[in-house]
């Protein structure tokens, strides 16, 4: 994974001291809370309902074990012993004291981490496929490109006060696990007809109040032009994006209002001027960054592991975990292990400091000292020998990290909601827990099969509920929490916005409503292979609507 050079380290160190000075000015009263707000936001410090919250960037979701142990230390020392992985592959600490935050940032800087631009109207952390470098269908590892973007976007003098926040995602595989189509800019690595690799550039995706799928404005961008093209997009957006209305300020609205073609023309006109500038990436720099992401020293292993096969045959619990959580790896004899942070009835994405430390040890032992975070609020050990899976699973189980529910109904995604968040209209976590408990029985989960439920506590849609197979949005209706359901969304390479199925449900009704949807699906599916989403796409919303509302 990427290692800072002295320049990277110096910048982060300087930023820590700059922020320390800003915090001092706040604590001394020189800055009012209002004046301090944009400064703390630019460094990932939010003021939540009950306390400050610190959001730490995990660039493209790759974490070293030293970094994971530092998270554990921070959770233990400055927080209540746990952290929370977010839908943007970052981690949040919910209870730090403001006076401690400069020290936390200092601790993070010692393991090459920071909280720069994890909030504010600037370019945020770039996300990527959590299986980068491990997936068999990958054209190229997206992470070097994310790192190049990270550096270019870090404290960019021109793009620190954009009309609104700006998020990018990169995938190197045709099957899109990074949800690139719902980002302000989505990059998909592809080949042109000469066989060269470059980027398809999508722009203007996003959810929130006005959900939209990104539009391709460049079919094939040569790699060396990546930064000049991004700078052109951002410069157009910075000048012409709306600033009169916060809810219309994202780039998706600009692209929608002037049309993707006109937008692409503006970008093209800008790009002509800067394409051959110092933004053009020299091959030497691309090589140097890519050298940080060379594959780990895989062993040459046979395709069949008898140890593994034997354990799968004899240990049913292990076999379930393998079936649900283990994915194929590009390297023969290796596998990708998904670590669920969704124990039945638990808080999605939460992890204790003991679990973090344990996972760091396991990653050192079994996965080349590297861990990934996912936008589905889970973790991944990307390179595990099949021979080691059983031992790994046993140790994970000892720390309650072996929930065998990847991709199943209890692997649901939920924002912090009204339990923490100052923006929320409703609670998300208790609802996630109730749904998880309702469907927790594993046989039932297997019967239901692959399905994705996403719960957002407000229209800002942090969990991407619009692209959940079942999306649940909490709204406030005359002081009561209500939950609106959307169906048929998806975030993959066939990204689609789900449709609201009808009137919302009260806190008491909503779990039953989800169960009604699931029962309806089970009754009408053609066979067990037809997933909820497939069935929905075949029959449409009508049967679901009738089941939900006709009995009312």
């Amino acid at each position: 994974m990427y290692k800072y050079d002295d320049y990277d380290q110096q910048l982060v160190d300087e930023r820590v001291e700059q922020f320390r000075e800003q915090v001092n000015r706040r604590l001394s009263g020189e800055l009012s809370e209002e004046e301090f707000r944009p400064l703390r936001l630019m460094n990932g410090v939010y003021l939540q309902l009950h306390a400050y919250m610190l959001r730490v960037a995990i660039p493209y979701g790759t974490i070293s074990t030293a970094q994971m142990r530092q998270f554990a230390y921070i959770a233990r020392t400055y927080d209540k012993g746990y952290g929370h992985f977010t839908t943007r592959q970052n981690i949040q600490f919910n209870w730090p004291k403001l006076v401690d935050i400069p020290d936390i940032l200092k601790d993070l800087s010692k393991v090459q981490m920071h909280a720069i631009q994890t909030s504010g109207n600037c370019i945020r952390n770039t996300t990527a496929d959590q299986y980068a470098g491990a997936s068999f269908d990958e054209l190229e590892d997206p992470r070097p490109w994310c790192e190049i973007i990270r550096q270019w976007s870090t404290m960019h003098p021109e793009f620190t006060y954009l009309p609104r926040k700006f998020k990018m995602a990169v995938t190197g595989s045709p099957s899109d696990r990074a949800a690139v189509a719902i980002h302000d800019i989505g990059l998909r690595i592809r080949r042109d007809d000469q066989g060269d690799l470059g980027f398809e550039v999508m722009v203007g995706g996003g959810l929130g109040r006005t959900p939209m799928i990104g539009k391709t404005i460049c079919e094939f961008l040569p790699k060396e032009d990546l930064l000049s093209y991004l700078e052109a997009i951002l410069r157009v957006y910075n000048q012409f994006g709306r600033r009169d209305n916060k809810y219309k300020a994202r780039i998706k609205i600009l692209v929608h209002e002037i049309g993707a073609e006109t937008f692409a023309d503006l970008v093209e006109k800008e790009w002509v001027h800067i394409r051959d500038s110092a933004l053009q990436l020299p091959q030497s720099e691309i090589d140097a960054i890519q050298a940080h992401f060379t594959p780990p020293p895989f062993e040459v292993l046979p395709s069949l592991s008898s140890v593994f096969a034997d354990k799968v045959a004899t240990d049913q619990a292990f076999a379930y975990w393998v079936k649900n959580n283990v994915r194929e790896h590009k390297q023969q004899g290796y596998a990708i292990a998904n670590i669920s942070l969704k124990p039945v009835g638990g808080i999605p994405g939460d992890i204790s400091h003991t679990q973090m430390d344990a996972l760091a040890d396991l990653a050192d032992q079994y996965s080349f000292g590297e861990i990934r975070s996912t936008h589905e609020q889970n973790l991944v050990l990307a390179h595990v020998k099949r021979d080691d899976l059983y031992a790994l699973w046993q140790k994970l189980d000892a720390y309650d990290l072996a929930t065998p529910n990847s991709g199943l109904i209890t692997d649901l995604i939920a924002c912090p909601g009204l339990d923490y968040c100052a923006l929320a209209n409703s609670r998300s976590i208790p609802l996630a827990q109730r749904i998880s408990n309702r469907f927790g029985e594993l046989d039932r989960q297997h019967d239901i099969g692959k399905i994705q439920i996403k719960i957002s506590g407000c229209i800002n849609a942090c969990t991407h509920h619009h692209v959940g197979h079942i999306g649940i949005l909490g709204v406030d209706k005359k002081g009561q929490e209500f939950y609106q359901i959307t169906l048929g969304g998806r975030a993959d390479e066939h990204a689609k916005i789900g449709k609201i199925v009808g009137a919302g449900f009260s806190t008491d009704e909503v779990v039953d409503a989800v169960e009604t949807l699931i029962d309806t699906y089970l009754n009408l599916r053609e066979n067990k292979e037809e997933t909820f989403l497939d069935a929905f796409n075949r029959v449409g919303e009508q049967p679901f609507k009738e089941a939900l509302y006709d009995a009312r």
Partner: protein
């Protein structure tokens, strides 16, 4: 209000002139509207002319005219309105503007350095002289590492790395 330029507090010799006001003899900063309406008259009369652009007035409209101005002032109505960062870079790096580029409006301690990186060289700071100068000097010291090439001439991390690579391959 203090004008800081070239690490000094300087006396402001310029006058911002409203559209209805009479023009002073020299050193007037006029609005875009006035410039567009009275262009010939202004050019005939002035050696020293400046223009002020609001944040919704894109400097593209004066791209051909920049050599007529000794001062271009760009307004930050609120610090969160970041359009003028792009405008400044366009003026400096594309339209070839060489005169004074002045930041006015909500010009604050924690943005002033970004402004400088984008090409501003003069800052109207809403503080007394010593305080204003300190704000400028403090803001310069905080960060010395830069990833982005702008027109400000500072070495970027990439250029430093390239230099290192060259030195390494030469030795």
């Amino acid at each position: 209000m203090t004008l800081v330029k070239n690490n000094l507090v300087i006396e402001d010799k310029w006058t911002f002139v409203g559209d209805e006001e009479d023009l002073p003899k020299t050193n007037a900063i006029v609005t875009l509207k006035r410039w567009q309406e009275d262009r010939e008259a202004l050019l005939a009369r002035f050696d020293n002319l400046g223009i002020v652009l609001r944040s919704d007035e894109n400097p593209q409209v004066i791209a051909e005219d920049v050599s007529f101005f000794q001062v271009i002032a760009l307004d930050f109505p609120v610090y969160t309105d970041g359009r003028a960062y792009s405008y400044a870079r366009l003026l400096r790096e594309r339209f070839g503007y060489k005169g004074e580029l002045r930041a006015i409006g909500n010009v604050l301690r924690d943005q002033i350095f970004l402004m400088h990186r984008c090409g501003f060289d003069a800052f109207e700071i809403n503080q007394g002289g010593n305080k204003a100068l300190k704000i400028w000097l403090d803001a310069q010291k905080e960060v010395t590492t830069f990833y982005q090439p702008t027109g400000d001439g500072r070495n970027t991390v990439l250029s430093l790395r390239e230099r290192r690579r060259l030195a390494k391959s030469a030795s």
